[in-house]
């Protein structure tokens, strides 16, 4: 890893990014990979891995990587984003990239809140979850990215993993990369720790993620 991590201690994103990098190393594809970053905590990945990375705007990483891929279909285009960037402000582009079956791999870190801005309600905030902007508990069900994307694309590779199921997470990412190589859209959502905004630590963090799996079951979809 290139520099000191700028992520909070205990953040799940470092595990996701390190796993991605390990796969690229195993496949000897580090030079072929280009990692576009949404704005949100995902932006902190800009100098975390020794591969090509660039920041985009909030909600715009998928569209940017669609453009990148159309110019260089021979490289591996990754769009790395949080749940807000994917399912709220960036949903229109995500949905259309999926509908067109653009061969890019979208990796969504789902921590059920807007973390960079301090814990506001996200599209993945769960029913009754309290946030800065839902002080008496969120009153609806969260967005299910798997169902949403499947509804517009039968060929897409779709999986949801979790940072406490590392082996599966790695397999999902590998399959997503293969899907992109085969010319298909791929999205892997990963349930990720946010100790800072969840205000939990250690074992509680694992429990929190395991609880999330009721609303967000892991597996392939």
């Amino acid at each position: 890893m290139s520099k000191d991590s700028k992520f909070c201690p205990g953040c799940g994103q470092t595990m996701i990014l390190q796993t991605l990098y390990r796969i690229l190393q195993e496949q000897k594809s580090e030079e072929k990979a280009v990692l576009g970053l949404d704005i949100g905590c995902s932006l902190l990945a800009w100098d975390f891995l020794p591969i090509n990375t660039f920041q985009t705007h909030h909600g715009r990483v998928t569209a940017t990587m669609v453009g990148f891929n159309r110019a260089r279909p021979d490289l591996l285009s990754f769009a790395y984003t949080g749940d807000g960037g994917a399912y709220a402000i960036g949903l229109q582009s995500l949905l259309w990239a999926a509908k067109r079956n653009d061969p890019v791999t979208v990796i969504v870190a789902n921590n059920a809140v807007y973390a960079m801005t301090g814990g506001q309600t996200a599209p993945t905030t769960m029913k009754d979850q309290k946030t800065d902007t839902s002080p008496s508990g969120y009153d609806a069900d969260p967005v299910d990215g798997m169902k949403l994307i499947r509804s517009v694309n039968e060929k897409a590779y779709l999986a949801r993993g979790a940072v406490n199921e590392m082996k599966d997470m790695k397999m999902y990412l590998e399959k997503a990369i293969q899907a992109q190589r085969d010319g298909n859209f791929a999205m892997v959502e990963i349930l990720s720790f946010c100790p800072t905004n969840w205000r939990v630590k250690g074992k509680e963090m694992i429990e929190y993620v395991d609880n999330m799996k009721t609303a967000f079951p892991t597996g392939e979809f």
Binding site: G36, L43, G67, F68, R72
Partner: protein
Amino acid sequence: MEKVNKQFLTGHEVVVQACVDAEATHMFGYPITPGTEILSGWIKKCQEDKKLHFLQTEDEIAAGFTVCGALMAGSKAFTATAGPGTVLMQDAMGMADGMRLPFVTIIAQRGGPSSGTVIYSQQEVNLAIHGGNGEGLRLVFSPSTVEELYRLTRKAFNDAWTYRFPTVVLTDGYLLKTKQDVTLDFAGENVEPKPLVSEHTQKNIRNIYTFEQELMDELENQKKDFDEMAKTVTEFESYKVESCEELIIAHGIVGAAARDAVDELQAQGKSVGLFRPITLSPFPKDELNKLVKGVNKIMIVESSMGQLRDLVKQSLEVENKIKIEGLYKPAVGIEVEEIVELFK
């Protein structure tokens, strides 16, 4: 393909031709009047030449960001938009501002605010230059004839890839819809595009900064580069200005009407000349200040409530107390006769 120099073409057609001749390869766009025919015209070219690519995106936001992605990858990509689309385009143009991307967009001005009217205005000057959340370091061309539209569209790609500032060809539905006999100048080299990232690089590129000072340093460097570029790219037309007492200032297609008006006024024995900025940003400041020294009055003529006037006022040296009058007709075309009438 054999090229015929003299042709009878619309503004839309010459824009598409200029993009092809500039060796652009990717257009990303969303249909909006009066710019749609650039997208459909480009798509027609894509059918003939498999090296050319297009994508009709879900909105102008995606059009802009797909352009950004393709530019990162080293493709000569561009978009075209208008009115409310120009507003949405600011998101991606802002990224291009921040990251010095050679972002080329053709803006077909239409009436505003809001959905406004669909044909014509000169109301997107501010948006073209200052639409982003920064300092407005963009290269903005305002062509006044179909031939100039060709020349400047082609130049836009070269300048964008040479200097790496977002570049706008600011036009309107009147000029784009005008069909005219044109002699296109095909000569000239194209600047080679270079990827920002590829398998041969290992770059980490950001547009968000941790410390205020870092961003300020970056902006000061950008400004230095922009001012350096200004020395080369700044363009204007001075028409019959020799010892003129009154000076019309107009841009774009209104500049063409003003040119005809100057002919008529001088035929009537009036001492009126025309100054037409071709680059609205950087603005031809030095030339303007030189020119106005012997002039009693400036007459601004534009299809907006004063967006050009404000550029002129910003550019005039402080001590200059010259009288400024104007004909301001937001979103309405201006006829030669109306300009002549101003000097009755």
